[in-house]
Amino acid sequence: MITYVCLAVLLLFVTVRSILFWRRNKNLVPSQELDQALIYQINRESDQYEQ
């Protein structure tokens, strides 16, 4: 019984992690945008910064 419960838990765990991984794929940040994101974070409070 415990064996099957553990297998069910493992199945649930793998399914949830896989779904989370694939869903996050859609929100991939391209490297060029990573550059812009970093520059924005550093300069966002500067009145000289232009996006």
Binding site: I2, T3, C6, R17, F21, R24, L38
Partner: protein, 318 residues
């Protein structure tokens, strides 16, 4: 008296993306953009890792934890198997599901690293800024002994920190150097929102030795502050130098025709000759005041000059 010093500048560090320049020290956890082997804060060597490596390590840790959990559950399910068949089923199912997990993790690892990098930028924003400020303080302090190194450091910092104060400091350092054509000089990253006489002087120098660096943004800056520049002691010389730099491309001649027309009279002969050939080589274009000024100067000064009678020979010189 000319107090300029001859220097040798190292070429800038080129990376595909700016964030690749940023590193963190494993020992003191301070960020730096400078490219020394030792951490500028704690002084220890060998501890600086790139942000990509840090993000990859964090993702790898998360991946390893997930795999360990999957293996642990598999082992527990095998341990609690009452029969051999149950244990075998647990083993096969556990390995299969763990295999699926490993496959999914492998396929999505690059995206996970990108996501982690973005998270680091947001979470560690203040630490990154503190690290860059520390870099800047060091660059300013070192400027008293080694101006070339100070400029190189500020050049790196300026790739991330877009601030006119840093640009001004860079310009001041550049103006203390003897500038040469073979030096790795830059201009557009140094342009500022405000009027800076040192920047204008620097542009004037570049118009003599590296006019190819003078492009649209620079022309627009010069046009914006033309009146201020004209009131400087060498203002007309700088403005005519910049106008002469525009002559190297027909596109610039057309775009900035009125500006060039105002200073064409101050051009040395070879620049005016080029301008003359550009204008006369494209009679179908509307040159407006520039066309009239070129004709006037030609008539007054070069009407009988043999160079102006010969057809243009294509050359690579600007």
């Amino acid at each position: 008296m000319n107090n300029k010093i001859p220097v040798q500048l190292r070429p800038p560090r080129h990376t595909k993306y700016v964030y690749e320049k940023l590193r963190i020290c494993k020992h003191c956890l301070r960020y730096t953009i400078l490219y020394d082997e030792e951490c500028p804060t704690c002084g220890k060597s060998g501890g600086l890792i790139s942000l990509h490596s840090k993000a990859a390590a964090q993702v790898q840790r998360s991946i390893r934890n997930d795999r360990l959990i999957a293996l642990l559950i598999t082992l527990v399910s095998i341990f609690f198997g009452r029969t051999f068949q149950e244990m075998a089923l647990a083993l096969v199912a556990g390995l299969l599901l763990t295999g699926v997990l490993i496959y999914v993790q492998h396929r999505t690892k690059p995206q996970a690293i990108s996501r982690e990098l973005n998270r680091i930028f947001i979470r560690d924003r203040q630490q990154i800024i503190n690290g860059l400020i520390a870099n800047l303080d060091w660059a300013a302090a070192i400027g008293k002994e080694n101006k070339a190194l100070s400029y190189e450091m500020m050049r790196e910092i300026a790739t991330l920190v877009h601030d006119d104060s840093i640009r001004s400091l860079q310009i001041m350092l550049l103006q203390s150097f003897v500038l040469r054509k073979d030096m790795d000089l830059e201009l557009e990253p140094l342009l500022q929102k405000r009027f800076d006489p040192d920047l204008v002087e620097y542009i004037g120098e570049l118009s003599k030795i590296k006019r190819e660096l003078i492009k649209d943004k620079t022309f627009r800056y010069i046009l914006k502050y033309e009146q201020h520049i004209a009131s400087m002691s060498r203002g007309d010389e700088i403005l005519s130098g910049v106008a002469a730099a525009a002559v190297r491309q027909k596109r610039y001649c057309l775009t900035y025709a009125e500006f060039i027309a105002r200073y064409a009279r101050l051009f040395p002969k070879e620049r005016f000759l080029r301008l003359y050939r550009v204008v006369n080589g494209s009679p179908q274009d509307d040159w407006g005041a520039l066309g009239e000024e070129v004709a006037r100067i030609f008539t007054e000064k070069y009407k009988w000059d043999a160079d102006f009678q010969q057809p243009a020979i294509r050359s690579n010189s600007l």
